[in-house]
Amino acid sequence: MKNNKIIDNLCIFLVFSFLFLPILVIILFSFNTSSLNIVFEGFTFDWYKELFNNKTLLEALYNTLIVAFVSTIISTIIGTISAYALKKYNFPFKNIILELLYIPIVIPEIVLGISLLAIYTLFKLELGLFTLILAHICFSIPFVIINVRSVLDNMDPNIEKAASDLGASKLKTFFYVVIPTILPGILSGAQLALTLSLDDVVISYFTAGPGSNTLPLHVYSIIKTGVTPDVNALITIMLLFVFVILTISTIINLKRLRRM
């Protein structure tokens, strides 16, 4: 049995080193005095200062955040309403719509990217932040719907009934009873939408225009000419941010686990 444990731990260790190696490299080189990312020459914090002078990089970060937040908020609102409506109401072609909603999840991103580009060209939409946000909303909504639906399915139907028996209007019931109950589903859907949007390369590649360069697109354009350590520094800061949020949410989850 002890043998097994060693194999288990070794296995976990190997996978973790595979997953974290490239990230450690990025973090390490953000403190490097040389700008070439080849050998570690000396320790410095300079790149963290330098970062704030790199206007292109900051602009890309700004665009990324705008696109991510706006598309997450809109797709969360639409996704939540839609999940509720699809559960509550029957209408013609409902089953077809239910199936169609899986398309953005399963088809290769590139197909979604080019078909959005084609439609934008057809309707003569100017490529930029707007088209980019629209594209991100497009691939986020189904993920929100699925997450919200899984919570809705477990919701006790009597809650809604009780509310309306007490005289609350449908709309009031939705806002004051349904939403609070399904909030965990909404939040996990929103979190997923945010994550997908922050890191999207393929769809953004086709739907962005001048002045809407995002961080992933910026890194893509400089990856062959050479990534400067200030980009490493920015990524390190973002990673730290993600790590803090995850630690907090894990602690909360673990507490909940203990209570169960």
């Binding site: 060209t121 100017e126 360069n213």
Partner: protein, 338 residues
């Protein structure tokens, strides 16, 4: 909820409603240093949105995919000027808006792809060159056919540009670089397939990195890339092969119905200033076409044979030509050799 929507609205407004003067530039990657753009922004208050492409074909696709007015200023090469001009994509230039136009070297004006420079003005000239790391490769390389040597497995990097690379294969076999003859193209295709085992990568954005990081020992690349590689690594030698090489003049051009034409002229005029052009040439040492800049160039540039190509060598350069519908033959070959 309401607060949420208001915040959302504010974000959307600040994101999309920019009344600031703007200029949307679409340019080759590794061509104009960031500092030059930032300085222009500081001087004029115009916000520059800068995007890049890595081949003329990609430029054409990006421009035709996007709604008119999406981009303002582009930098097509000679033959692409002709194609874009014929398709009505370019705006006629109003040269009276350019105070520095007389700085241009007349050798590069009034060429047959755009007589009288109605639609374009030269920005720089570039040629392809073979860069070799002499420490790793001892044999002398004078011809494209020397690249077929089986000792060079995995050692060669090529620019990711179909006209240039298929053109190179045509030259290697003694044909015209712009041939559209099917038999000749077939021979060129076979030649490229023979070369394939020796290839490390195709890269247009920064092939010099392969040489600098010693990832590969031979590269067919644009002259400025070769010149930088030589500056970074003394073992690099740049060779103009005996069969000839591709020559290209990249130009300023303004897109039809651009919304920011005044800003575009301001930018062109700014680049035409001798000291600005010098800054560009220092970062990306292509062949300079500004005669005022010529007077102030550093020895570093003048002594680098890949940067400051001699007129004697330039005579061997060949322009890529517009081949019309025959481009489909090239497309097919390109898909096959990759």
């Amino acid at each position: 909820m309401k607060k949420f929507l208001i915040i959302l609205f504010v974000i959307l407004c600040t994101g999309c409603n920019n009344n600031q003067e703007q200029l949307n530039i679409l340019n080759w990657s590794s061509y104009i240093p960031d500092s030059v753009i930032r300085n222009f922004e500081k001087e004029t208050g115009i916000k520059v949105n800068y995007s890049t492409y890595s081949s003329n074909e990609e430029l054409l696709a990006k421009v035709s995919n996007a709604k008119e007015g999406t981009y303002d200023l582009i930098f097509p090469s000679d033959y692409m000027i002709e194609i874009m001009k014929n398709r009505g994509l370019l705006e006629k230039l109003d040269k009276s808006k350019l105070t520095n136009i007389n700085n241009l070297n007349s050798n590069y004006l009034n060429l047959d792809y755009d007589l009288n420079n109605e639609y374009s003005l030269p920005f720089i000239a570039a040629s392809t060159v073979i860069s070799v790391n002499k420490e790793k490769i001892k044999d002398e390389i004078v011809s494209y056919n020397d690249l077929l040597n089986s000792d060079y497995k995995d050692e060669i990097v090529l620019i990711d540009d179909q006209r240039i690379i298929i053109g190179m294969a045509l030259l290697a076999n003694g044909f015209d670089m712009n041939s559209t003859n099917k038999d000749e193209l077939e021979i060129a295709e076979d030649w490229l397939l023979k070369l394939k085992p020796n290839l490390k990568a195709y890269d247009s954005d920064s092939p010099k990195n392969f040489l600098i990081f010693e990832e590969a020992s031979i590269a067919v690349l644009w002259n400025a890339e070769g010149a930088i590689a030589k500056e970074e690594n003394d073992n690099i030698e740049n060779i103009f092969p005996k069969e000839g090489f591709a020559l290209s003049i990249d130009n300023f051009a303004i897109l039809k119905n651009s919304n920011n034409q005044d800003e575009a002229y301001k930018f062109i005029d700014y680049i035409l200033r001798p000291e600005i052009m010098k800054e560009i040439i220092n970062s990306y040492p292509y062949k300079n076409v500004n005669k005022e800049t010529d007077k102030m160039l550093d020895d570093n540039y003048l002594n680098n044979d890949a940067a400051n190509i001699s007129d004697e060598t330039l005579k061997n350069g060949i322009f890529v030509k517009n081949i019309g519908e025959n481009i489909k033959l090239y497309d097919r070959i390109w898909a096959n050799i990759k």
